[in-house]
Symmetry: C2
Subunit: 152 residues, 2 copies
């Protein structure tokens, strides 16, 4: 915007704590932290695994590619998360017979039971965060939309 003001060091003044990429990274980590730890210690579920589970609960049979696109994770990350979830018995992998390149991932009964416990926790957490944001919630979400380009 304006020309950088040089300090004694000859370098432009720059405050990391006001730098938006930094602030956002710190805030994101803080927001995930508590819930992620709880999911990990109580249920043995990581964040990538949680994202896969949520998408399966929400959308039924889905391919890895599908999840990759909708859940903002590399396909290798999705693949590994899915393998762990399968090993734990929470999801099933089947081959899509109409296109044998694709997988069909789906929740098992055990997986649905897990989600029946996880989802209410997430919903409550969302409510907590919203309460914390209070009157700033609307503006905050508007900013998020701008950044991710959902609503330009």
């Amino acid at each position: 915007m304006t020309a950088p003001i040089t300090s004694k060091s000859g370098l432009p003044d720059f405050d990391l704590t006001r730098f938006l990429p930094y602030r956002l990274a710190v805030a994101a980590e803080k927001l995930s932290e508590g819930l992620a730890r709880r999911y990990r210690t109580e249920f043995g579920i990581s964040v990538p695994e949680w994202r896969v589970l949520v998408h399966l609960a929400h959308s039924g049979n889905v391919s890895v590619r599908d999840i990759e696109a909708r859940v903002a994770m590399e396909k290798s990350k999705v693949s590994r998360a899915a393998s762990r979830l399968e090993a734990a018995g929470y999801i099933a992998k089947e081959i899509n017979e109409s296109d044998r390149r694709l997988l069909q991932l789906s929740l098992t009964q055990k997986g649905r039971a897990l989600m029946a416990r996880l989802l209410p926790i997430a919903i409550a957490y969302q409510a907590e965060v919203a309460a914390r944001l209070a009157e700033t919630l609307q503006g905050f979400e508007a900013g998020l939309d701008r950044i991710t380009g959902d609503k330009v």
Copy 2:
């Protein structure tokens, strides 16, 4: 807030794309992405290294512990970033003679020259982001403050 509405699957309805920890993580990654890649490819600097450099440019001689506290990184992460920066000749490590447990990290001349190139890029990027947020910037930052607890 309200009781979860059960869908056909018997699970509560839950949309990951409205979940604040998720949205924030995605937005944070998107915001860091472009700048981080540029710093990496053009200058060979990672995000942890960048944070250390900024703090040194801003605060002169500093210990690892100091950076850990102000820059939201594990001390091992700071330590490794500092070692890489020292190997690259951007910073100097000295022992603090008044407390020989502490290090004094400082920018070398080469490090200052690097920052003279990096900082204007960051400042311009910040301006870009602010422009993108436009009238939502203020509300967005207010929300960030709520989350990180800067201003309760």
